[in-house]
């Protein structure tokens, strides 16, 4: 920057000094940011719930098909008791594994 240039720069800075953002603007922005975060968490929780539901539904459909086939089994075999026992075991295992995560998701969602 030469002298003329520096002089012009000084005049510009003096003529148009930095503005101060109005009081309360930062608070308003942060309030909106928190709302955005809240919505994002909600969306994430709903997505996770939907995924769990989809997987459960798929498992139930598969096991139902197996159960129907076993119900038609000849006399003297286990019939439907085995697949239903399997469903119960999977359900108990799922609850044990996902209890904490599910509770956290539910809390975030609410």
């Amino acid at each position: 920057m030469n002298k003329k240039e520096r002089e012009l720069a000084g005049w510009i800075r003096a003529a148009a000094p930095r503005e101060k953002a109005p009081a309360g603007l930062e608070v308003r922005i942060m309030k909106q940011v928190r709302e955005c975060e809240e919505r994002r968490r909600c969306r994430r929780a709903i997505g996770a719930m939907a995924w769990v539901c989809a997987k459960t539904a798929a498992a139930v459909i598969v096991l139902s098909c197996v159960a129907i086939r076993c119900a038609d089994a000849p006399a003297g075999t286990d019939g439907a008791s085995f697949p239903f026992g399997l469903v119960g075991a999977i359900f108990a295992f799922g609850i044990t594994c996902c209890y904490d995560e599910g509770r956290q998701l539910f809390r975030e969602w609410m």
Binding site: R6, E7, I12, A14, A15, A16, A21, L25, I29, V33
Partner: protein
């Protein structure tokens, strides 16, 4: 950590510390507001633009890869929103800030002596520039950003930015001389 860098703050935000974003807001609110006021000449719109800029930045933080400085990135968002606002408003009459509305703080003039009348002429000269030209002036003289960053913010090449700024300087001098 007394004065964390932007990237350190952003890392905290990415880890889920939403409140850390307040540091970013505090750091850039005045600067973005200044840019938006200069471009739009309207304080109401400038407030909305600043607000929208921060919200967009927050929502798109995952997409910020750190290829440029965060400040350049957020300035670019504010610049684009300001220019869009100007284009939308161009169908309506533009309410220009009068000399009396221009808020001044205690920033000392670093150049040669320039009395109130001279500053008034300078303000009117700046007012006659286009929105893009005012943005260039603000980013170069007030923000003192390097030319390469200005070019990135405005979305032109560095050479083009230099040429435009040179023309703007010539125009400001001409406008000031016309009023003498």
């Amino acid at each position: 950590m007394k004065n964390p860098t932007d990237n350190e703050i952003l890392a905290r935000v990415a880890r889920g510390d939403t409140e850390a974003f307040g540091l970013i807001v505090g750091r850039y609110a005045d600067r973005l507001y200044t840019l938006a006021v200069r471009i739009t000449n309207d304080r109401e719109s400038a407030q909305d633009i600043v607000q929208e800029s921060f919200i967009r930045a927050y929502n798109k933080l995952d997409g910020f890869r750190g290829q440029c400085a965060f400040s350049s990135w957020i300035f670019r968002i504010a610049y684009n929103l300001s220019i869009d606002s100007c284009r939308r408003r161009s169908r309506r009459p533009l309410v220009r800030l009068t000399d009396r509305e221009v808020q001044t703080d205690d920033t000392p003039a670093t150049g040669g002596p320039c009395d109130e009348e001279c500053l008034g002429r300078m303000r009117r000269a700046l007012d006659r520039l286009s929105a893009e030209e005012r943005a260039l002036v603000t980013l170069y003289y007030e923000e003192e950003r390097p030319m390469v960053e200005i070019a990135a913010i405005v979305g032109i090449t560095e050479t083009n930015a230099k040429v435009r700024l040179h023309r703007v300087r010539q125009r400001i001098r001409r406008y000031m001389e016309e009023e003498q």
